[in-house]
Assembly symmetry: C2
Homo-oligomer: 338 residues x 2
Amino acid sequence: MRATVIHAPGDIRVENLPEPKILAPTDAIIRTVAACVCGSDLWDYRGINEVARPTPIGHEYVGVVEETCAEVKDIKPGQFVIGSFFASDNTCPICRAGYQTSCPHKEFVGGCQAEYIRIPLADGTLVALDGQPDEKFVPSLLTLSDVMGTGWYAAVAAEVKPGSTVVVVGDGAVGLSGVIAARELGAERVIAMSRHVSRQRLASEFGATDVVAERGEAGVALVKELTGGIGADSVLECVGTQESMRQAVRATRPGGNVGFVGVPHDVAIDGQELFFSHVGLRGGPAPVRHFLPDLIDRVLDGRIEPGKVFDLTLPLDEAAEGYRAMDERRAIKTLLRP
Amino acid sequence: MRATVIHAPGDIRVENLPEPKILAPTDAIIRTVAACVCGSDLWDYRGINEVARPTPIGHEYVGVVEETCAEVKDIKPGQFVIGSFFASDNTCPICRAGYQTSCPHKEFVGGCQAEYIRIPLADGTLVALDGQPDEKFVPSLLTLSDVMGTGWYAAVAAEVKPGSTVVVVGDGAVGLSGVIAARELGAERVIAMSRHVSRQRLASEFGATDVVAERGEAGVALVKELTGGIGADSVLECVGTQESMRQAVRATRPGGNVGFVGVPHDVAIDGQELFFSHVGLRGGPAPVRHFLPDLIDRVLDGRIEPGKVFDLTLPLDEAAEGYRAMDERRAIKTLLRP
């Protein structure tokens, strides 16, 4: 089968690999309908994460079930499915508490920019649609496997409520999905921090009421000005740097909350500053499995259209160009069709 | 009047100072009925905080109102009152959100180990009882001005709910009050981390179901063992060191919460560890004003008796011995009678 492999920073190739095989009785194999390139794939591409050996890449997917093994009871061949980038049993106390990405049986689902994917713990990981979706919904459904689910978790972790004032730090696909999430959860005001015109436009289309282009202390000062001097109720941190985290905490009102979903790179939080800020903090890899059923309904009902974050669609064989375009910020997010 | 003054680390003296005067139209003057020594007073006493000049000390108090100024409407001379260690207006959006200790008009109420105290923003800061309380309630009412209110905030910040499993890190008066708070908020299981027999005994009396004497990784391992391998729903961090904070985060289950009320001294929280822990974090100086009406009711109804944390009562003139006893861990907390 055709599959995307990263050989070294900047070196993405689409190659012929053996099709995945069932390895455990709880496995399923799916035929990929669509996959995509994640901002976190760019860490490898940019050499921020080490690439020790050629590695199949990609962790976002929708597809049709080809085959299931003996212990898979709920998922059936022929179903259109969406799953999380982390497999989970979905039955343990941590999964039942809604934190499937901390499931003790979790397993990363990698190598998804490929024609076929092996899904561990298929019953716990995948959610099947009733029937096949209209083609127009595929991009939005694909976002639920990571980026829209992650924006949603950021908003939930930041405790966005009806009437909230929300700030979104980061204008990548996750931040833009966070704008959608904040509005869906009832935020009255959503301030998107973005300095790129195309992303500002999409943020507004997704429901942002204000855009702040400034960063750091200047950005915080503007947020304060927009919020009666006190800061926002909820801040979604969708970047993962020391500066973005500091900006997020400082833009939050005392008693407000930061949901942080940008994987922290060399971030240390000063205990005393956090203490005196009275800001609540929760982050982590988004338990998208927890949100999938609800988010699928919102997509199929036409309430949300997160698939708009894909401003470049390419055949799988042109994956390398998809990475380049995102790396050079010519594209927000690239959808790949096997 | 007689008042306690710290001159240098280890040097506590009770001296004659002028009585406090009204300085602003929102001030009141109260005659102190009881005051006490806080664990945080020991930072000055032990030289951890600098003592630059002789300074009146103490920030916990109950008393009877002597005098109020023109703009004080609700508080009247003769009332028995309890107030927070931070004055607040109690009307701004931050106070209304329940974070009075972040009120933009907040002012520290110091020098309370004295016969009289000036209370700024009296209407926002003080809560008056109906009539004079029975003498037996005075110690418990006194704890509401900081230590019990702080333990309560720790439990609220850690989102203790009916049925929760709770860990309390720290067996000082705040941690012990946290045990009371956890039980009152419905915790089913309260694990007190304590290695001092007298404090273990009081923790059990306050409702702790388990005691863990181990600290650090050994303590975390024992908590995991007691919680089906996953950690507690809520952890109250009542110390404020790097080790106690790490211990708190690691003892919490994914999706659980740490409420931290020990003022952090040289604490840095690793962003990546917090991210992958899925633990929520909220701390700060407790907005005890927010909890006072409810906690007063619980004391006067006899539901809680946090005054038991006072295992030493001295006349104000013997304040120096009260500090020594706490410093040497001969006493948990010292009550002072002017």
